[in-house]
Subunit: 107 residues, 2 copies
């Protein structure tokens, strides 16, 4: 095996190792997201029961500020963290609207 | 305090409790994402060093299938899990392109 082949071989081993970490992290992310939606599902039911609006701009503002700060500390792009939270909130509001619609149907 | 007030008070306590869990989960998500980008950063550097393309459709196909299965087991919408992975991959490819451009500048 010449040096170029050896480098390519090393790169393959390293890539496989990094992908193993990424796959583990992705499994953790999916499970954390599943748990997060369990909580927001309960929030949605509570809001529907008490006729509260699905979105809560004040709460969202606090969450965004907090996540941006956490991201900065963890060396993650704060803009990406904010985009990520918005991406999740869109899904949560979609769930809450569905819960509210179901509650209205049943009342 | 009448019964309606008591119910509203209970709802407030429950909502605060649920939001405490959501905030903890979000902090965990931000830290997992930061760690994920540390790994993909290394993948990007490795790919740039060996002239490999930033995107890898075969790997992505395997990741999507795996995450959809994990999501199903965790009672998370598999379509959402796939959208989530795509959302992250867009960011990763943006990073990889930046690394490749920097490597090309330096060579």
């Amino acid at each position: 095996m010449n040096q170029t082949d050896r480098h390519a071989e090393n790169a393959k081993v390293l890539l496989k190792d990094l992908r193993g970490s990424i796959d583990n992290i992705d499994a953790a992310l999916v499970h954390m997201l599943a748990e997060r939606f369990r909580s927001t599902q309960k929030v949605g039911e509570l809001k529907a029961l008490h006729g509260l609006p699905p979105a809560d701009p004040e709460r969202e503002k606090t969450q965004i500020k907090r996540l941006r700060d956490l991201a900065r500390d963890a060396n993650l792009d704060p803009d990406f963290a904010e985009k990520f939270l918005n991406f999740i909130i869109v899904e949560v509001i979609r769930h809450h609207d569905a819960i509210a619609a179901k509650a209205a149907d049943q009342s």
